[in-house]
Amino acid sequence: MITDEPDDRRNFLKCMAWAGTGALFAFNGGISTSIGLDAAVAAPLKHSASKPFTFVQLSDSHIGFNKPPNADARATFREAIAKVKALPNQPDFIIHTGDVSQLSRDEEFDDADQMLKELGLPVFFVPGEHDMLDPDGGKAFLDRFGKGSQGAGWYSFDHRGVHFVALVNVADLKPGGMGNLGAEQLKWLKADLAGRHSSTPIVVFAHIPLWTVYEAWGWGTDDAAEALKLLARFGSVTVLNGHIHQIAQKVEGRIAFHTARSTAFPQPAPGTAPSPGPLKVPAEQLHGMLGITDAMFVRGHDRIALIDSTLSA
């Protein structure tokens, strides 16, 4: 029983106001609302045994990318890490939602690893399709970032009452298709979720969006519906993805979906360009289109608030 928690939380939220630049997107029981920070601070709090915590999502660092509009994806990743370091409330951990590297080269993985280690925080990874390009189809990534994972790199863990599920939808892709989870992973997910109380907040993270953002560019996951069916009974589910290098959001039932910006280069909005290749923005616009996502969990609200901020902020 922590009686001073409301104060903690209010201070915490005030500090978040320093960190964030955009709206605060709060997810509560599947209803997504964009609320002002003042309203969030004033909101009543249920008693709870857990303190608030944050984690940060980094995505699509593409270490090794060196073409327009970003000649040095290492430098912008370093800036993203500096931004995390500067957060007044340090996150409990980092999740990286894939495309750590551009070409799955050892030196790319190595540089990402070294830069992340400067944070001194646990980092949880899922691979993107760019991390599967070694001759063994992902072994280099898994050896380094996937220790203890199963199959192509999936796993789950619990943190302060929240169940986190890391899924891989970039392995064994099918001709003509989009992202793919596969039968083996879905079977594992079913077993992983079985027996968990439906009041347990769930955070799922994977590289390619688990809903169809734009089929013509492959921005979706063919068998995501089967995973979402297994998640439907839970009161609070947040799905965090990358891959599309821009923010996209959707709420379906009790499931809130959100994609993060890249730290390397932006991609065009669906259908606004001939291809999903890098958006070649002028140098002065680049930092405003790259960024990180700060996720805050306040126990008792069953709500995860996501604050996206750019590298120019």
């Binding site: 073409k67 070409l103 799955s104 399709e129 390009l133 001709p175 492959g218 291809s275 290749g277």
Partner: protein, 118 residues
Amino acid sequence: MTRSFRMLTFQAAALVSGALIMSSITVMTKASAAAPAAAVEIGNFTFKQPVVTVKPGTTVTWANGDDIPHTVVSKDGVFKSKVLDTGDRFSFTFAKPGQFGYFCSLHPHMTGTIIVKV
């Protein structure tokens, strides 16, 4: 490791891909004494010649013109490129008649077919 070597490779690739486009035109217009060749360009996340029909013995070369890497992978396991970065190429010689569907294993919505017939 050897940035200059990589640059040389890219320059060579550019030269050869230019030559390939020329040679595929040549193959179309006259019976070639040399081994027949055909080219598929990769651009804008597509195989720009999605269906190519060739004679047995033809070497098909794919060249990646995108600034994002791609692969060329046979649906039936007949051929598989390593990752092709910008300017990289992959060639495969089709000895026997048949229909060979393929795709990019990174962006599987990218598909193409090589038809080999006498």
